[in-house]
Symmetry: C2
Subunit: 332 residues, 2 copies
């Protein structure tokens, strides 16, 4: 493995020094925790407990079903545990606003540390190790644990594997690095069970999810000479399938897999009557942030969103199509 | 990377010696070529050409759309090129029956070599390097190319990445090894573009595929107290969506991802009127080979198939349900 830089080693050493003096540590993953946020927290939490410290992951939402295998007694929503901590750590996020209602607990803790890989994060703690080049926060935790002299441990290894594989899109996203593979290769010597972890994370679908995905994708339309894929999901479909609104999150990913399209757009009719819209661009020629902002939303060049209020699905569909027409006229 | 064993080194050296004496080499991937078969062939073919040899990949079917990026002028269906070869190699397969109608071309070539990782392969060539522990034939080709002194080359690297990532299910299947990650980590120094390769392989779906998948998955039924997932696709659905019969291949994979099921069963009405059935088991308790053989098919414990003739979808569905009832009665 490539040597880590002096700067990174400096950050790690400062974090270790601070943690050596800590005795009650609370870890804060970001809201809507994912595999990287929770896996990173679990790996660090177990290591801190191995050192005899009191360590907890503070949450205020249920651990998602498909990540439950990671939480072998590390997560708590007990505010008293959080209030008596001497050290609080933001993990996989870099600002208190990313931890929602837990921010006050975090802010009242005397010592504050941050380990994160999001480029939007700013220094907000006593020590901030933020590395936007890291494919996953789990990779940073691995480097920290190695420097702490952590012995190979299958549970820590599985948590780190979960973190890395989910945030790299199973090693397919463009953020994946040489070191992502080097770390996972090393974790094989820790006794990890990648296939079991992966089955839990990815093969725990409810039938309702598969049915709502089918219903949504059956509305697929290719427009603008095949450059634009659009689809929608209605409240009626949710009622008929019994699916939760969150269970359509992968529809846009599937739409994005269409050959030859420039953009994918997915409209979701929410309970309260508004229409939430996800935009994805597959092409450098089309900036979906501009389309989103034309209908009152925003985001990044390749991924953006908007919420349209006081209109039904067909009006929203029409409105979005007009905004796309404007952007494609500009792009050509 | 762990040192390769003396036995493996012996095989590699024998292959290199034979290839040094070759001047016209033809490579044969298995029928229904996949990323590992074609990627392995492309990597080796380019290396042989770098050595000044005439080298071709002999095929008799079109290269699948999503793998076209790998074939930069390596594949041919010209029988004369095959007939004038002095050396023929089975790649990612280990018996002439796996190359269909090309078997006669292969068998008439004087020198025959084999590199494969399928456990069912038997020695059928002058030199046979068969390693069922290897997650992908591409990993074996990598070791061979390293031993041949191949310089880092992005095109060869991308072909090997395609081979390894597809046959390991993006590093999630239980066949994935430490060395799979070590090899890919090394390929990063060859200038590979994993995300571009992956986008081509996985994000080249036709809309017809997404529509037929939706139609098929919308028939999903959970039976036997949620232990069995069943779904079907009819000729009418193919006609209405314009999809090809091969475009439902991933339906059973999606069904298998259901939480809590023991088996998934997918029925496909074929053009000629027969019903082909795929069985997958997620559980060690249920052997789908027994269910398949009860309806005239066969296969492995976890993956099996059958074809029912002279009956319609609803009769076949009924017949399969009865066979499942028998097997579940036995399993409990």
């Amino acid at each position: 493995m490539d040597k880590i830089s002096e700067q990174v080693r400096g950050k790690i050493q400062a974090l270790i020094a601070q943690l050596e003096n800590a005795s009650r540590v609370c870890l804060y993953p970001h809201e809507n925790m994912d595999g990287d946020a929770l896996g990173s927290c679990v790996a660090l939490c177990k290591r801190l407990r191995q050192e005899g410290k009191t360590a907890w992951i503070v949450i205020d939402e249920p651990v998602p079903d498909n990540l439950l295998l990671l939480d072998q007694g590390y997560c708590t929503d007990d505010r008293n545990l959080a209030l008596t901590a001497d050290t609080a750590m933001l993990i996989d996020c870099g600002e208190p606003s990313r931890i929602g209602s837990r921010a006050e607990l975090f802010l009242t803790t005397p010592g504050k540390l941050c380990i994160d890989h999001h480029s939007t994060s700013r220094d907000c703690c006593d020590i901030n190790w933020i590395d936007p080049a890291a494919a996953a926060t789990g990779q940073m935790i691995y480097l920290l644990l190695k420097e702490m002299g952590t012995e190979p441990d299958p549970e820590i290894g599985n948590a780190l594997f979960a973190a890395i594989t989910t945030d790299t899109g199973n090693f397919q996203y463009s953020n994946t690095q040489k070191i992502s593979h080097e770390i996972v290769a090393d974790l094989y010597d820790w006794g990890i069970l990648p296939n079991q972890v992966s089955m839990e994370i990815y093969e725990s679908n409810r039938p309702e999810r598969i049915l709502i995905e089918s219903r949504a994708l059956s509305t697929l339309k290719l427009l603008f000479d095949g450059r634009v894929a659009m689809a929608y999901v209605s409240q009626r479909m949710f009622q008929e399938t019994g699916a939760a609104e969150s269970e359509t999150e992968r529809v846009i990913v599937k739409m994005r897999s269409l050959k030859g399209i420039d953009i994918a757009v997915f409209l979701k009719e929410k309970k309260k009557g508004s229409i939430s819209i996800s935009f994805r661009s597959k092409s450098d020629r089309v900036n979906v942030a501009r389309i989103a902002s034309a209908v009152g939303g925003g985001g990044h060049t390749k991924a953006a969103g908007a919420t349209l209020k006081d209109m039904d699905l067909s009006e929203a569909w029409q409105r979005v199509q007009e905004a796309i027409a404007d952007e494609l006229g500009r792009a050509d």
